[in-house]
């Protein structure tokens, strides 16, 4: 019986469907979106499932409005999700900034396709890695996660919600067309087997509540609208009360705190996986669907006697600089294969501080990077 039960929890799911399952397990109660390939199955899944659990789904007039509605619903107390692809992600940037400055938990999925502009509907890409970091204006922190399997889409969707609630920040989940649309075996965890984090509520009475005064962890407790705590939320830089400020000390403290609440918890936020790195002299650093190819490359290279390993990034932002720096001291060469002409490789170079050679390997023709071509790149580079 037990085995049978366990068996039942294995499903063949599409990547976008796994995102829906992960969100539901996290307690999502609100989705606002706008149709766009290759993310639409997330909206469709939410439209079907949310009303069944008393949640709310709404298809808005555009991506700007979707992001706004998601923030509004989150302030009113519902865990909220939206999903899009590059062109829609551009539109979300405006209100993503509003969510950052007001520390509103929410999860934004970007199933990447080739760009710029309408680009390649619908072929995979990893061209939005830097957009995820810097897409909205101003000096701001962000958390972005990038799964490489359908199962990881489920687990990282849960992580994304947890980080967003714990650190009061929007979290971006970066898929690409391949993993969003492919089907794989997924183990659906039982609700009791997963950790679900909910935002901290104020413990003081309303008259003593300062909505943007942080606790020691840098995160202020959050009162939902309509629960007796009346306060102001503004896109202007604000003080502890949430009211606009032009006091330079308050401004400086506020912007630094936004960054520090992420940066000081980097150990909790950074997730990555290592394959055969212990004795490696050559390291691949990859993420998303390319990490799958890179893992295979490691096996092929090892068969040839090449000491190759892989650092698979699951957390993209904040970047794991410390880890990469250590790796750069160990290996002679780092190759960064990615479906762009060199985005995360810039971070790897920065973190390596010249301690080893760092080489990009990019592909932007809408085709996946395959294990053989990465192996070819390794062979080419070791001759140099």
């Amino acid at each position: 019986m037990n085995d049978l039960k366990k068996k039942k929890n294995i499903k063949l799911l599409q990547g976008n469907e796994a995102c829906v399952e992960g969100a539901l397990l996290s307690g999502v109660k609100f989705f606002a979106g706008y149709p766009i390939t290759p993310s639409s199955e997330i909206a469709e899944g939410m439209a079907k499932k949310l009303p069944k659990i008393g949640g709310k789904f709404i298809q808005m007039e555009d991506e700007i409005a979707s992001m706004a509605a998601v923030i509004g619903a989150s302030i009113a107390g519902l865990k909220s999700l939206t999903a899009t692809s590059g062109p829609g992600m551009c539109l979300k940037q405006e209100n993503l900034g509003f969510a950052i400055i007001n520390e509103i938990p929410c999860v934004v999925v970007n199933a990447q396709r080739g760009g710029p502009s309408t680009g390649l509907p619908t072929k995979p890409s990893q061209g939005d890695m830097m957009q995820a970091r810097w897409g909205t204006h101003g000096d701001h922190p962000i958390i972005a996660l990038a799964p490489s399997t359908v199962n990881e889409i489920l687990t990282l969707t849960i992580k994304a919600f947890n980080f967003s609630e714990k650190y009061r920040t929007p979290v971006i989940l970066l898929l690409d067309e391949v993993i969003a649309h492919m089907r794989e075996k997924v183990k659906i965890p039982a609700p009791e087997d997963i950790q679900v984090i909910n935002r901290k509520k104020p413990t003081v009475p309303p008259e003593k509540y300062l909505p943007f005064k942080p606790d020691e962890d840098g995160v202020p407790p959050m009162a939902n609208f309509g629960e007796g705590y009346r306060y102001h939320i503004t896109g202007l830089v604000h003080n502890y009360k949430g009211l606009p400020t032009s006091n330079s000390q308050e401004i400086d403290d506020f912007i630094r705190r936004l960054h520090n609440k992420i940066q000081k918890n980097i150990k909790d936020i950074i997730i990555n996986e290592k394959y055969f790195l212990d004795d490696a002299k050559i390291a691949l650093i990859a993420y998303g669907s390319v990490a799958r190819a890179a893992e295979r490359t490691v096996k092929l290279a090892r068969e040839e006697g090449l000491k190759v390993g892989l650092l698979k990034l699951l957390t993209i932002w904040p970047f794991c600089s410390e880890e990469v720096n250590k790796l750069a001291q160990q290996v002679d060469l780092i190759i960064v294969p990615e479906m762009n002409l060199g985005q995360m490789v810039l971070e790897v170079e920065r973190a390596s501080q010249g301690k080893c050679r760092v080489v990009p390997y990019g592909r932007v023709d809408g085709e996946l990077i395959n294990p053989i071509e990465i192996l070819g790149k390794i062979r080419e580079e070791i001759k140099k």
Binding site: M60, A65, G226, R230
Partner: protein
């Protein structure tokens, strides 16, 4: 002496940022009086605004308040209302905020007939940025970006909202403040998307560039421009030129978006299964 207003404002936010003679304060007063007459619980009121002089209103009132991004107040409010339909959600916008950058959100909020009250303070200009012409600047009038006169046609927001599906649409002015208060009160109390456009004055930008330097000149202009529906009907086409109808345009009862969502929720749950 304490007034009704004092019960609803955040005193620490005063003095306000508005220029002398600005109509925003009159509208703020009208909104507060209307809410006071309705005896709503402050904890259940959410006021949402976009960007502009008028959008600063949300900072001054003691509710749950949100000063959002330019033109986007309505979709933020839509998210709040969907999440918690028991909250009373009021949206305050300026004319540029609502009809230019937020125009699409405005027609779709009306189309959904979601239970929000949109109050548009129409001073026919972008005041905060220094007097550029807006979609509601009358043709031929001047703005800092219309130095030779505005060649654009204006929107009729009331007709736009009506055509898009709002349940309640009205127009008042800052001159006829009692009428405006009563229109706002009816709009707040209306289930569905309700719209009140308040014609307001910006003596500093609009007035200065259009030969009405003093607030009194502007209020007189507004007084002369505003006519009741009845008076409007008696006017010839020529006489209608440059006039604006005030009063109630539409007031109909129909199910709002959150109620319709409740219905499909029920349907989805009755269907059961995981499909």
């Amino acid at each position: 002496m304490k007034t009704v207003i004092d019960n609803y404002i955040r005193e620490e936010m005063f003095p306000n940022i508005w220029c002398p003679g600005c109509g925003n304060g009159i509208v703020l007063g009208a909104i507060i009086r209307a809410i006071d007459e309705l005896k709503w619980d402050k904890n259940k009121i959410v006021a949402v605004s976009g960007i502009g002089c008028s959008s600063r209103i949300t900072g001054y009132v003691d509710f749950c308040t949100m000063n959002t991004t330019h033109g986007r107040a309505l979709p933020f409010a839509t998210g709040i209302k969907m999440a918690k339909p028991d909250l009373k959600v009021i949206v305050v916008m300026g004319d540029g905020d609502c009809s230019a950058i937020g125009g699409n959100h405005f027609i779709h909020a009306a189309r959904r007939n979601i239970d929000l009250t949109a109050i548009i303070i129409n001073n026919m200009i972008y005041g905060m940025t220094g007097g550029q012409y807006s979609p509601l600047t009358p043709t031929g009038k001047f703005g800092s970006t219309a130095p030779y006169g505005n060649i654009d046609q204006t929107f009729d927001l009331a007709k736009l909202a009506t055509a898009a599906g709002a349940s309640y649409v009205a127009r008042g002015t800052v001159y006829n403040v009692r009428q405006s208060t009563s229109l706002i009160k009816k709009a707040l109390d209306k289930k569905g998307f309700s719209v009140v456009e308040i014609i307001s004055d910006c003596p500093v930008s609009y007035g200065k560039m259009n030969k009405m330097k003093s607030p009194v000149d502007m209020l007189k202009w507004i007084k002369d421009m505003a006519v009741s529906k009845k008076a409007w009907e008696a006017l010839s086409e020529e006489e209608k030129e440059g006039k604006l109808v005030t009063g109630e345009f539409i007031n109909i009862d129909r199910m709002d978006y959150t109620e319709r969502y409740k219905e499909i929720t029920k349907k989805a749950q009755e269907m059961g299964g995981n499909k």
